[in-house]
């Protein structure tokens, strides 16, 4: 193999694929990045067996070939080089790089020892605009479970129907749902669970993308392909049945409050400082008064340390109410909201609290309360 490319392009490409490689692995070759000539371009590929990312960069191909080299080593070296042309050649299992007045030799592995990157030719295909997809991922994926006790909850549930995509995640303590419109309708209805890690990678790579993303779900519904500009991500799908979350979203309420997101976040953050010792409990009291504006009081106390009380104004309809939440879950939700104002609906201290958009958005956030001694 004999090729040339720009340092800048190679560095960017390695940044795209290299992040998913880990040093802790049972299959050492997955710490490598596969470099191969692909017609007139250079293809970089990495996999952690759950996700595979491929990226193509412009290159001048003198002689075709391929090799797998340690991703961390190559990335660090390439990033240390000046922004000039790099000449790469491969001979007898060693990659040689020359750039300006630097050169390096890196021992590699044969390309055919690298795990095959899954290819999805046919299946259910659609397209989604990058920006709304990124918003949906941000507002949903944080709610996915981080422990493996219920594997289906570690992913984002994606339901494709006509030109609608519903993305949902829940770890049992909270549930996030976001609806968006597809740029092209799907031929048949399909529901899959995408690992949260894959969605986060996709979000990261969508940052530089203007065009719609092309999605293909393989006919066995085991894998999904996201095709971006010069980048492809193939992710395994989580097998299993996602809980029917719709029945968990209360359809009615007894108290409804319209609050300013920023103020609510700030008051919750203050309270959370005092909630650290006590399981993160913050208590919300919604009170109405004939003479004063109605308000939500947010309080926390740490045994033998102290307590805190914050107030925010709110438009409150219905009964006065109280409910306790884990401050972390409240802050997580407020942190991902793009809206200025949101609606909070509650029924009683042991039923879920529901956040809905005040304006256009098509999303819903549900947080389970904490049972506390009032």
């Amino acid at each position: 193999m004999q090729i040339s490319c720009l340092q800048e392009n190679l560095s960017r490409g390695l940044g795209v694929v290299g992040r998913i490689t880990t040093s802790r692995t049972t299959l050492p070759i997955t710490t490598h990045v596969l470099i191969s000539s692909d017609q007139s371009r250079l293809k970089l590929a990495a996999t952690n067996l759950e996700i595979a990312i491929s990226c193509w960069i412009g290159a001048q191909i003198e002689q075709e070939g391929a090799i797998a080299v340690p991703a961390g080593l190559l990335t660090d070296f390439v990033n240390s080089l000046p922004g000039e042309r790099i000449d790469i050649s491969v001979a007898s299992g060693t990659m040689e790089l020359k750039c300006a007045r630097s050169e390096a030799r890196i021992s590699g592995q044969k390309a055919d020892e690298f795990p095959p990157i899954p290819e999805i030719g046919e299946g259910i295909t659609t397209r989604v605009d990058a920006r709304p997809l990124r918003t949906a991922i941000t507002q949903v994926v944080f709610a996915a479970a981080t422990d493996d006790s219920r594997p289906v909850l570690t992913g984002g549930y994606a339901q494709f129907s006509g030109d609608k995509l519903t993305l949902a995640a829940a770890d049992g303590f909270r549930l996030a749902v976001h609806n968006l419109t597809l740029a092209a309708p799907v031929a048949e209805e399909v529901s899959i669970i995408i690992p949260a890690r894959s969605l986060r990678e996709l979000d990261r790579l969508l940052k530089d993308q203007e065009d719609p993303v092309e999605l293909t779900i393989d006919p066995q519904r085991k894998q999904i392909l996201f095709r971006l500009k010069n980048v492809e991500i193939v992710s395994q799908l989580i097998q299993g049945t996602f809980p029917n979350y719709n029945q968990l979203i209360p359809q009615s309420y007894t108290t409804r409050a319209v609050v300013n997101v920023e103020e609510f976040l700030r008051a919750t953050r203050s309270a959370s400082i005092f909630a650290r010792d006590g399981s993160g409990i913050v208590r919300l009291f919604m009170t109405r008064s004939a003479v004063e504006p109605s308000r939500i009081t947010i309080s926390a106390r740490a045994e033998e340390v102290g307590d805190n009380l914050g107030e925010i104004e709110a438009v409150i309809e219905g009964d006065e109410a109280k409910i306790a939440f884990n401050s972390k879950y409240l802050m997580d939700v407020f942190s991902v909201m793009e809206d200025e104002q949101v609606v909070l609906e509650i029924t009683n201290p042991s039923s879920p609290g529901v956040f809905r958009p005040m304006g256009d958005g098509d999303w819903i956030q549900v947080i389970m309360p904490m049972f506390v001694q009032w």
């Binding site: 909850l153 829940a170 303590f173 809980p243 010792d277 006590g278 399981s279 389970m368 049972f371 001694q373």
Partner: protein
């Protein structure tokens, strides 16, 4: 100055029951009265004397002495295993008698209480008379003898009650604390253990009086922070108030095995049993824990503790045990010695709370299970219902209403 006088002019009583465990046994079984009696265990078993009657003490027996030595010195003594619930009941009655005299009580142990008697002179004629009345009520209602020390501070009151034993009463007049303490051997001073005593006698200091004139700086450099305490106590200066007990800050249970053991099922069964006792106590107090601590003492007496903070506060036996078991597995993997003592504790106690879960109500069900088990045990005794894990203990230990009676029955809570 008024405030200062008010702080200074305190009268503290230290009431200490004589030969407590033995006296309780003698009160329940009059045949034992006037005879050498030992509570702690049977003479052929491993263990130590928990309490010896004054008749037995005449033979040189004392608390802490190995039972085998005790039976050699005084073979005619009656050896009793004893039972903690009996002593706890007596202790509760003791405290309720004292509560009739003063609301300001500080129980130090089962048989030892500080009582703030400041201002009670007018009611009883004198504090001395009040003490006489207390002793009489205890004798009448519990059949036990108490020794009482009266002084302006805790340390002098405690030493006075000890010196007056048995069935004694000693009052140290205000201003005479120092002269009272001066001739006494340093070992009588609280805070002076075997080691401190050795060091001090090495310096030629054998009385509290000699200790009191030792320069503070010398004591501090030798004993650190406790040097200052020694200096103050030796001079009869002690500003500690009588403090009624607050809510528990931690709960723990531990037990020493009959024989050092590596037997996993036995270790785990015992550990589970102790976890259940801790859990029951935690729930009785209406609290949840955020921290679980394992305690292990190995055959060579090395003692370790290992703690883990819980993500979510809990009060269930399962959480306490499971968390403890993880710590136990880790500890045992690192140390190959047999285990002499095992214990579990909970701390960082908080008000009950629970994060509700959309899909999983098992935490809630577990809590209800624990409540149900507590109810059954309250009514029918601890061993009326048990988990499979602890079943094996039934074949090893005798049971009583309160649970299993382990190695030192007189101390088995």
């Amino acid at each position: 100055m008024v405030l200062r006088d008010a702080v200074m002019a305190r009268i503290i009583m230290h009431i200490d029951l004589d030969a407590f465990f033995v006296s309780v046994e003698q009160a329940l079984n009059p045949e034992l009265q006037g005879k050498p009696v030992v509570v702690g265990g049977r003479p052929d078993k491993r263990g130590v004397v928990a309490c010896a009657s004054y008749e037995a003490r005449a033979f040189g027996l004392h608390a802490g002495m190995p039972l085998t030595t005790a039976s050699r010195l005084c073979p005619q003594a009656t050896f009793i295993e004893g039972s903690f619930p009996k002593y706890r009941d007596a202790s509760q009655r003791f405290i309720s008698v004292l509560a009739d005299f003063s609301p300001s009580l500080e129980p130090v142990s089962l048989d030892e209480v500080y009582l703030d008697a400041t201002g009670f002179e007018s009611i009883y004629g004198s504090i001395w008379q009040m003490a006489v009345a207390i002793k009489q009520r205890i004798k009448d209602e519990l059949g036990l003898c108490a020794s009482v020390g009266i002084a302006s501070c805790k340390v002098a009151a405690k030493i006075a009650s000890e010196l007056s034993k048995p069935d004694g009463l000693l009052e140290i007049a205000r201003g005479e604390e120092r002269s009272f303490l001066a001739p006494l051997p340093i070992a009588k001073l609280p805070g002076v253990g075997k080691k401190t005593e050795q060091i001090l006698s090495g310096l030629g200091i054998n009385t509290i009086g000699k200790l009191s004139i030792m320069p503070l700086s010398a004591l501090k450099s030798r004993f650190g922070a406790s040097g200052e305490l020694l200096h103050r106590y030796a001079n009869g200066i002690d500003n500690r108030k009588v403090e009624p007990p607050g809510a528990a800050r931690s709960i723990s249970r531990e037990t020493t095995f009959d024989k050092d053991t590596r037997d996993r099922p036995l270790l785990e069964a015992t550990f589970r049993y102790l976890s259940e006792r801790v859990g029951a106590e935690l729930r009785r107090g209406g609290k949840q824990t955020r921290c679980v601590t394992l305690k292990l003492r190995y055959a060579d007496f090395t003692t370790i503790t290992r703690s883990r903070t819980l993500k979510q506060a809990s009060n269930t036996d399962q959480t306490i045990f499971d968390t403890g078991l993880e710590l136990l597995n880790k500890a045992l993997a690192q140390e190959k010695q047999p285990v002499r003592l095992i214990g579990i504790g909970v701390s960082n106690l908080v008000e009950p709370s629970r994060q509700l879960d959309m899909f999983d109500s098992s935490a809630q069900r577990l809590e209800q299970l624990n409540i149900a088990i507590d109810r059954i045990r309250d009514k029918y005794g601890f061993t009326a219902i048990q988990t499979g894990r602890t079943l094996l203990l039934k074949e090893i230990f005798p049971t009583c209403e309160e649970g299993y009676t382990s190695q030192t029955p007189s101390l088995s809570r």
